[in-house]
Amino acid sequence: MKDILPFLKELLSAPGLSGNEAPIRELVENAWRPLVDEIGVGRLGSLHALRRGNGAEPRPRVLLAAHMDAIGLIVTSIQAGLLHFTQIGGIDARILPGQRVLVHGRNPLIGVVVQPPDRLLPPGSGEKPVAMEHLLVDIGLAPERVAALVRPGDLISFDQPPIELSGDVICGHSLDNRASVASLTVCLRELQSRLHLWDVYAVATSQEEVTLGGAQTAAFEIHPDLAIAIDVTFAKGPGITDYNAFGLGKGLTLGWGPNAHPYLHDSLKELADDLEIPYQVELMPRHSGTDAYAIQVAQEGIPSMVVGIPLRYMHTPVEIVSMKDIRRVGRLLAEYVCRLPIDFMKTLSFEKLS
């Protein structure tokens, strides 16, 4: 099968901040269109794709959701040709000084986030990280030129091109969660030559990083019988070695906690065991921090599950993911979908599998 890496690199080269997903949505739509029977855009910007199953109608529906939106910055004011900004999604200001960015003004403008010299900041600033309110973006242009090209409300995306690192890993911005969009694409490609009874709804959701609004409304509109959210999770690495972090490239994760239906959890685990796909169980005592949180409570409630891809340095422009894990998730999803019996919902119980 076609390697997913080139497509993922395209995804990592596109902007698409929460609420403004058009650039990334277009890329995904082009890639998915030949793989599905219907495709359209939801009212909050999610991409909804349907691949019809082979079962008799009315067919049950499974929703596979991966968010495509990215965190970023937004211009708040302009002073002497320099841009003040705030964040869209969760960003630690300490990773910002020196980041190359793209300011989406009247045309895309390359710029850099700058930390003003300590002498221009409040006394004592040298001892501390510089707060976001004092950071600026410099696009290298004269103030009058900046005024003509940029205005408050213009978006600023990270401009870090994807890079391949050694050991079959990829690095870039927005691997959270375009790694999962890539997995979903692997799954759809796999399904081309396979029989599945269920209708499969693949959705690239919008606005996960801000309100989960894309997933919540997609789940309402599609009204699936089952849903799986695919999102990244923490990989072990510098400063993270606790129970809540997983080996990079050592397998996917299967969520366990209030957002995960125990029956779905067990059925995915069983399948992963059968297929010898390595996985670890991710313990999620509260909010899973994924689209599953919103999907689970759509309509009358939807049995949901979270599948994760370990990722290092989350919410920085140098996130790292193992390509192996991306492919593993794609394969597990495809196999799961193909094996869903038409009467699966009758067997689903809230008690564990016996």
């Binding site: 000084p97 980041q99 930390q115 079959d168 690495g237 993270i240 340095y313 989350m314």
Partner: protein, 362 residues
């Protein structure tokens, strides 16, 4: 070898070939003590133009362009080849390396950056703990250097990375309309300037161009270079910070050091050197004569190779001239093409009108 005959009234310019040269120089990695990549470019560029080229014990490239006739004024120019960066110092397995800083880098600029490692510019990244796991209290503190790692991926770069390798920020040379955004503009702008000046050297002086090493860790290359050249005077060409940003509380910025678009910054005094007033006067007079914009760098702070040069032997009258740049010693600095061009014009004109009389005591 005779120097190339120069046309009369030639004027130095910053065109495509000069920008391409600067791009090559900025893309090269030359952390203090490991200046080989830049040295190679300098040698390649200047061998056809020089009377003599020497690589000395510290790795300086010492280029002599002899004037016509005996007893020409011996004029030393210096620009440093090295840049700030990192050295890999401990292997933590699975492609993770601890690193130390070489030169003045604010560790607040490290998290979330890409780096190039070693001669092959192998890619690596410096990550940060996810914001999701960082406590509010932690966010109010700097991320200490000891907590950061250079990550080359679990494949460990195929064994091609080793302890002792140098690394730099991985920053692509970029033109932003009339500005340049690049790493190591401090001091590849100076290196490129010296290359142009040697290529268009005047005939009435011995031009002694020192492409120095180890400036970022104390002007060590310049010190021995000045000894070897034994010049009558020295002009150091560097890049100095432009702190010309708004202040946090909107008060007047009186500590801007230099400003972009202000032209070449002439040093009167910094922490390392009181510039020779005769040379300052000569540069100012030249700028006025040729209507070249210039600025005086705000006195105090900082230092250049002049700090080491002016105290060499029995003393060498010295001055520094800098191209202003914002955000030096970070992943990328911003400088104006026009400021570079005006620096070239000023230095060329100043060299052409330079006579021993300039040094006659006033």
């Amino acid at each position: 070898m005779s120097p190339k005959k120069a046309p009369v009234n030639r004027t130095l310019r910053v065109g495509t070939s000069q920008l391409r040269l600067l791009e090559r120089l900025c893309t090269a990695c030359a952390v203090s003590g490991d200046e080989g990549e830049v040295r190679e470019i300098v040698l390649e560029e200047l061998k056809p133009f020089a009377s003599q080229v020497k690589v000395d014990a510290l790795g300086n490239v010492l280029v002599t362009h002899a004037g016509k006739g005996d007893h020409c004024l011996r004029v030393m120019l210096a620009a440093h080849m090295d840049e700030v960066g990192f050295m890999l110092v401990k292997d933590d397995d699975e492609g993770l390396y601890r690193f130390e800083l070489v030169g003045g880098i604010d560790p607040r600029h490290l998290p979330g950056k890409t780096v190039w490692i070693g001669r092959d510019h192998l890619p690596g990244v410096i990550g940060a703990r996810p914001i999701h796991l960082v406590t509010p209290d932690e966010r109010r503190r700097k991320i200490p250097l000891e907590d950061l790692r250079i990550d080359v991926g679990p494949g460990n770069a195929g064994g091609k990375v080793k302890l002792g390798d140098r690394a730099t920020f991985a920053t692509t040379f970029t033109r932003l309309e009339n500005s340049l955004y690049a790493k190591a503009l401090d001091d590849r702008l100076g290196v490129a300037t010296l290359i142009e000046l040697v290529k268009h050297a005047p005939d009435h002086v011995d031009l002694l161009a020192a492409f120095t090493t180890q400036e970022e860790i104390g002007g060590r290359g310049a010190r021995v270079g000045a000894y070897a050249f034994n010049p009558d005077l020295a002009i150091v060409v560097d890049s100095t910070p432009a702190f010309d940003l708004p202040t946090w509380d909107g008060t007047e910025n009186t500590v801007f050091n230099t400003r972009l678009d202000g032209g070449p910054a002439i040093y009167v005094a910094d922490t390392s050197t009181i510039s020779d007033p005769r040379l300052v006067a000569h540069l100012e007079q030249t700028a006025r004569d040729h209507k070249i914009p210039y600025q005086l760098r705000q006195p105090g702070g900082g230092g250049t190779d002049a700090g080491a040069i002016h105290r060499q032997r029995s003393g060498i009258p010295s001055v520094s001239v800098s191209i202003p740049g914002r955000y030096a010693h970070t992943a990328g600095a911003i400088a104006r093409i026009q400021d570079w061009k005006n620096t070239l014009l000023l230095l060329q004109a100043a060299l052409e009108s330079l006579t021993p009389e300039v040094l006659v005591a006033r």
